[in-house]
């Protein structure tokens, strides 16, 4: 097992190098001197800001030196300082906003699992039933749904017309004066819509995948064997088949991480949630380059770590993987 983990970690090295090269390439996207073009397009960038940008990326040095000094700073999480008036270190700004983003994403991942897996399994077990057909239609709609639009509609319905749920922020104005339990309920009320919506995007994919997986497993020889032994259909489906069909889901969940993290930009902007996605959006709008670069790198590394966790848990669950 340890051997497997070490091997996986080793394979991460070229990916990490690639990630840094692409991020570094994005900084140098503008032809000519990046500072000139960036500052020309950004009226807010003074001569001083230009100087800071030059110092941060060592833009007066040869390109390979620029890259290595950038990576060296990255390794100790020195992402430079934000261009915004507060002028704080980028790493601090990201770290204080990361927990809420991760919290929402973990909740929605949990929600996806709890909803999509039973739907997929049931649709497969009752293939061609009414339930299967209805969910197939819902899956098609789910794939085509612009989630930010769904967010608007739900805000209009639950926020504006019914007035049941708050539509922005994560806390009410009187948050500080509420007793702990009401404060917690207040937080939950603010998170219901964002979590539901960010889960929505993954529901269609996972339930479809689960259905296909289950259908394939049901056709395997060992299921026929289990039936031939005289086991009840219940045991065959929910014990023998389900366990095997669940295994690849771990990988799919790992693969869905970049989508969830990317989606946080949209939800956090719509619902005014002070997370990493909103920070990223504001940084893009104000051309706060150090913050943009920092979040891009961190987002990619989070994905890499998520995939590693998925691979390792797959190996824990399925010994066949470890041997390869």
């Amino acid at each position: 097992m340890l051997n497997y983990i070490l091997r996986r970690l080793f394979f991460m090295i070229p990916l990490l190098i690639g990630i840094t090269i692409i991020c570094f390439g994005v900084i140098h996207l503008a032809p000519g001197s990046p500072t000139d073009l960036q500052t020309q397009m950004n009226p807010r960038a003074s001569a001083e800001a230009k100087e800071r940008l030059r110092a941060l990326y060592d833009l007066d040095k040869p390109i390979y030196q620029q890259y290595f000094s950038w990576v060296r700073k990255l390794a100790v999480l020195d992402l430079g300082k934000s261009f915004s008036p507060d002028n704080r270190p980028v790493a601090d700004k990201i770290l204080e906003r990361l927990p809420i983003t991760l919290f929402i994403n973990v909740l929605s991942l949990g929600l996806i699992i709890v909803i999509a897996i039973p739907i997929g399994v049931l649709a497969a077990v009752r293939q061609n039933s009414l339930f299967d057909k209805v969910t197939a239609v819902l899956v098609f709609i789910g794939f085509a749904m612009p989630t930010f639009w769904l967010a608007l509609l739900l805000m209009i319905l639950f926020g504006v017309h019914l007035g049941w749920l708050p539509i922005s922020g994560i806390r009410s104005l009187n948050y500080e004066y509420l007793p702990p339990l009401s404060a917690f309920i207040d937080l939950l009320k603010h998170l219901i819509l964002p979590v539901l919506l960010s889960a929505f995007g993954g529901l269609a994919g996972l339930s479809r995948y689960m259905r296909a997986n289950m259908l394939e497993v049901i056709r395997q020889d060992y299921i026929t064997t289990a039936r031939a032994k005289g086991l009840s259909e219940r045991v065959v489906i929910y014990k023998h088949a389900l366990r095997n069909a669940l295994l690849p889901v771990i990988t799919i969940l790992g693969l869905s991480i970049p989508g969830l993290i990317g989606g946080s930009v949209i939800f956090e902007t719509i619902f005014a949630i002070p997370g990493m996605g909103q920070l990223f959006y504001m940084a893009v709008m104000s051309r706060d380059y150090p913050v943009v670069m920092g979040i891009l790198v961190i987002g990619a590394i989070l994905t890499l770590v998520g995939n590693l966790i998925a691979d390792v848990s797959y190996a824990v669950a399925d010994p066949r993987i470890r041997i390869q």
């Binding site: 990916l15 085509a144 612009p146 930010f148 990317g262 989606g263 979040i295 995939n307």
Partner: protein, 275 residues
């Protein structure tokens, strides 16, 4: 003709093609069928609800939402086709080279795919836009440049399974070069999966563009796009529901159309793949 006979029986595919054709016609004939000029401001009828004169209502500048939605279909179509074209071109070439030559070229290209897949696509697109100006052309190029990875894997897999077949050996035996084998013998056989991928790609690109325009970093006003009409909808969320409802329905329908079309083509071309 076998293809058409099977296609005609596929109800989902027919629905999909009907939707796609409908929006295609809408965008081509936009100048003639839209009742008003999409940019015509009329401050006397600001944010008026749907009525006989303005079936989908008006926005905060008194512009006709129906006309703006009709013109918005042009943007979606353009972005969908151009960015998918770029992604297909890159994915086709890289996938063909990786699958055909194998060995270190294959490893190199596949690592590049893995690296690109580490980035949350939306983050990468936003970061690039922060450095460039948001314009429809930049959007199309960026969506294309971040969408080739799946296609590369697909073409590579096709090439690997095809390149040892007899007809390729035969072509090589009569002296055909690599270039000729790739383009006139292997690629035509990979066209089916490319076509399906392209259809799904267009749907994805339309969704991405609308999200970008909604966030204000895609197609810039006053050019109407479905995404930026929805921005107006969000700004007037407590007064004007019609600004939020209709453009979103257009996005949903269009994307649904391309997805159904893709499924239909796949089922018809290769019934074995039917899920």
């Amino acid at each position: 003709m076998d293809f058409w006979n099977r296609y005609k029986k596929n109800k989902l595919a027919l629905t999909g093609s009907a939707i796609v054709v409908f929006f295609f016609l809408l965008s081509i004939f936009a100048p003639w069928i839209s009742p008003y000029d999409p940019g015509a401001i009329n401050l006397q009828i600001v944010l008026s609800p749907p009525s006989a004169a303005h079936p989908l209502g008006t926005d905060q500048l008194g512009r006709d939402v129906l006309s703006r939605t009709i013109w918005g279909s042009q943007i979606s179509l353009k972005v969908g086709f151009v960015s998918t074209g770029i992604a297909i071109l890159i994915g086709m070439v890289l996938g063909a080279v990786a699958g055909y030559y194998g060995r270190w070229v294959d490893t190199l290209i596949m690592r590049a795919v893995d690296i690109m897949l580490c980035f949350p696509t939306f983050f990468l697109i936003l970061a690039v836009i922060a450095f460039l100006e948001p314009s429809i052309w930049n959007i199309m190029i960026i969506i294309g440049l971040t969408g080739w990875m799946g296609i590369t894997r697909l073409v590579r897999a096709d090439f690997i399974s095809l390149k040892e077949r007899d007809f390729v050996q035969a072509a090589r035996a009569i002296g055909a070069g690599d270039f000729r084998i790739i383009f006139s013998h292997l690629l035509p056989n990979a066209m089916a999966s490319l076509l399906v991928a392209a259809t799904f790609g267009i749907a994805g690109a339309i969704l991405t563009e609308s999200a970008l325009s909604f966030l204000g970093i895609g197609v810039q006003p006053p050019t109407p796009s479905w995404g930026n009409i929805l921005t107006d909808g969000k700004d007037n969320i407590d007064i004007a529901w019609w600004l939020s409802l209709y453009p979103g329905m257009a996005i949903l329908l269009t994307v649904l159309g391309y997805n159904l079309l893709g499924e239909g083509i796949r089922d018809t071309l290769d019934p074995r793949l039917k899920s």
